[in-house]
């Protein structure tokens, strides 16, 4: 792992700003995420949470300011699998089973030590659905299948866009459990939510966006 130092800043935004047709979508943001930190991005509908996430993945180019990963300016080409993103679109192939979907992810991103697809699926509550095509899962089950990816992949930064949506209470607890585990392993995570759901693990950092 490149940065074993627990107090090291992993992800940092400096004066980050995204412009769409020269209108700022979100204002200049400054924040730094250290190893083991979870930050909650809060804001109303349309305040720019998803846009911020896409900027942080490098998919969108920031209008002003910059994003730094492990202290270096980063782009799609240089971040080398350090980041995993879970968006409104889950990135699952409907014709593959959850297990096969996981195998693709671990092929692309590598596999965390000791991680196992079936264990991960059991942990997100999908035992018995390992071989069902994802097409046949309910909305919440699909979300869980996507969450299983987080348990497999060795990325240090998790960017989760509304991970709580479509999940039942047990599923919300599951997301919180996953985040706590990740923080304990020294990862960092940025999670968007509408504040309607209380994040359980300690008091997280909050980044507030205004529409």
């Amino acid at each position: 792992m490149p940065s074993a130092d627990p107090s090291a800043i992993i992800l940092e935004a400096r004066g980050l700003c995204f412009l769409r047709e020269d209108e700022p979508v979100f204002g200049p943001l400054d924040f730094a995420l250290r190893a083991g930190e979870i930050a909650l991005v809060e804001g109303d509908n349309g305040s720019g949470k998803t846009t911020l996430m896409r900027v942080l993945t490098g998919m969108l180019r920031p209008g002003e300011g910059e994003v730094r990963l492990d202290g270096a300016t980063f782009s799609l080409d240089t971040m080398a699998g350090a980041v995993v993103f879970l968006g409104h679109q889950l990135g699952l192939k409907l014709d593959l089973s959850p297990r096969e979907n996981l195998r693709v992810s671990s092929g692309l991103y590598g596999q965390r030590e000791g991680a196992d697809a079936d264990l991960a699926l059991a942990e997100v509550g999908l035992s018995g659905f390992e071989d069902e095509p994802v097409r046949r899962l309910s909305a919440g089950q699909k979300k869980r299948a996507a969450l299983a990816r987080l348990l497999i992949v060795p990325a240090r930064v998790w960017l989760l866009d509304e991970p709580y949506a479509n999940l039942d209470r047990e599923g919300i607890a599951l997301v919180n459990r996953l985040l706590e585990g990740h923080a304990q392993r020294g990862g960092a995570a940025l999670v968007t939510s509408h504040g309607a759901v209380r994040f359980a693990g300690g008091e997280p950092r909050r980044i507030r966006l205004h529409a």
Binding site: M59, L60, G81, F85, H88, K93, G107, L108, G110
Partner: protein
Amino acid sequence: MTHGSTPTACAALLRRDLVLAWRRRGDIAMPVLYALIVATLFPFALGPEPALLARIAGGVVFVTVLLAVLLSLDHLFRGDIEDGSMEQLMLAPQPLALLVGMKVLAHWITSALPLIVVAPLLAGMLKLPGTAMPVLILALLIATPLLSLLGAVLVALTAGSRRSGMLLALMLLPLCVPVVIFAAGAVAAAQEGLPWAAPIAWLGAGLVMALVLAPLACAAALRIAMDS
């Protein structure tokens, strides 16, 4: 913790696309059937005169293959973009151009290869003389990857909802025309007993260039498409 190696990633992606194609193996058979159908339609539309059919056989086979390849290319990236898999690919610690190349390879295997296998049958039904058959296969073996690669760039450009992509597509689509002209030309030459090596060589040169450039162009185009 094991970071995925590039070969592993390529293999995983290729495998995924092949499995997906296999899950919908009906779709693999489809370009073949489609080509068969088109080949059937021509005698209906033109009348069944063998001499006339033989005359147009080469051209019809290539136009058909072009259409079938383009038809199936249409879905090359769309599915991945709509279900969020494209973001996963772009964030993976692997060169996007290589991953895209794998997707094109999978597409070629699942849609062009079956076409090449049935091409002799089609050509036979259209009375193409047997002497021209090896040239037809050779031309198809070179022209179809070329079409897949060019088509992939085209599809990548139109992938986003951007107008500019459309414009470029209009410019790129005619690029497929020379490919077909050379390929059909080679077959026509062979049919008449003329030398056919030159057009094949041109095609080969084009393929080499496309193999290098098209994945890069695709990757760039996809970045543009996702950046909205």
